[in-house]
Symmetry: C3
Subunit: 210 residues, 3 copies
């Protein structure tokens, strides 16, 4: 399902294959011999998504570009099923396993691996060849890579990366518990941006730019 | 894709937006200025799902109401991609990150946060403003919040919450390993309930109640 | 959505129910009174997928058979939302919770349980009645079951199971960090195999074999 969003249409190379029920919406470029499998969502929400050649985006993976954080995904990259990538840069030859998630402003350098359910957090830089083990979290620049039980150490780094400010332009409240107070304004802003989908146009097969 | 299930149709506020390939099935109410993004599934399986205003249900999230456990989701709530909510109450201003899961009978109080891949277990009450760290588990009422390596402590609480009885009306076997013996009856009951989908009716665009 | 892939069509028992937007592609057999819920993907990629009777595949779960690793899923099995199964054998009466993942060559014996976000790794045999706790990893034959912080112990077993060789026929590089060097050849091979989807044919409703 190809969607024209904010007047922009996906550009999909003739040698790429996109499953008929995958969603490719807006300013998305997909390079030669890449594959987007069933149920995946690649959505340019105000900022572009560029996917290189021989990349494989597996079933139900979600990739989102935003105005502040476009997505650039290199060549020979594998994005596993149930993975979630938002506003990040993935260099060539990266392996993102099942359920991996990568957040806004993160950079995963060439040949790095994020294993099953691994997380690369906001504004984190994962160096070339680095490995995030199953269920671990990479956080910071340069990245510290920690298991989930090390919450205090993760939060000490993560807090300074300031998710509400970076992603939504909202000031973080003084305490970790205070996030709730941001939600009315956060959902109002995000909901308003998403309202641009009302003028989407689903494209007939073969009508994408190529 | 809007579905009439068991004679009931979704009610979606005119100012809400639902992605064309999201599924909204049965007795589901979606409030003003809410958004349901690509690939999400909101399904009332014998019990209602009510979603408030300015809520955002992100890509491929799954929300399920059941007869014993309806879903009530407040206003200004964000449900991340790949999240799974079943039969729970989510108060206003709650942030549920990527891959969060919340189970039957749970209550998440106002302004709480469940971070990436965090779990709020059966019949658990997460207090206002509480935080479930990345990959941690909240269990019990009041909730204990533990990292995954603390399985023995989690199970000591979880065992008493009695998932098979609460969700399927089946008596838990005496040992943790005995769950398998319930599966023939569990799948028979659940499969029979799901058979009600045979008389579903996919609604033409614009034919939902509003 | 039923798909003929490589000349093969799904065979779905008359008493089974498959959600209209679930994908069933290629050499897939679904037994009596089974259910495949919204957004699920069951895909035979060069090797068959056989699902027994009274099995329930929940929303957005992904099940993939490959040439080297077919899938056989027994009767009375529950596959939770956001689960991912590839090339594995699941015996009768198994419970796979939300976000569970099971990899190529794994065998889950009768009545075992994989809890929320649990992982059963490559070529791992999980014995009858065993339990993988929330977020833990089972690895090896016989399986060692470990929490995510035990990465060194997990990797010591996993390394010998040789994912690149087993799944893609590629020799593992000498260091853990060397995976990136395989990605050009890995994505070339996988992309070429997936190219077979170009000659898929979406089947009209009711046109599957039964």
């Amino acid at each position: 399902m190809l969607v024209e969003h904010q007047g922009k249409r996906p550009r999909i190379h003739d040698s790429a294959w996109v499953a008929p029920n995958a969603v490719i919406s807006g300013d998305v470029t997909i390079g030669p011999e890449s594959r987007v499998l069933y149920g995946a969502v690649v959505t340019a929400e105000g900022g572009p998504v560029e996917i290189g050649g021989q990349a494989i985006v597996m079933e139900t993976a979600v990739i989102r570009g935003t105005q502040r954080h476009p997505v650039r995904l290199g060549s020979h990259v594998l994005v596993g099923p149930h993975a979630h990538l938002t506003g990040c840069t993935i260099e060539d030859d990266v392996f993102l396993a099942t359920g991996a998630s990568v957040f806004n402003g993160a950079v995963i350098e060439r040949g790095a691996q994020v294993r099953i359910n691994g997380v690369v957090h906001l504004k984190t830089r994962l160096p070339a060849g680095a490995v995030v083990p199953i269920g671990w979290i990479a956080v910071g620049d340069p990245a510290t890579i920690l298991p989930p039980d090390k919450h205090d150490e993760i939060w000490a780094v993560q807090r300074e990366l300031d998710f509400p400010q970076e992603v939504f332009g909202l000031s973080r409240p003084p305490t970790e518990a205070g996030m709730g107070s941001l939600m009315p304004e956060l959902t109002r802003r995000y909901g308003k941006a998403l309202d641009a989908h009302r003028s989407d146009r689903t494209l007939p097969d073969g009508d994408e730019d190529s």
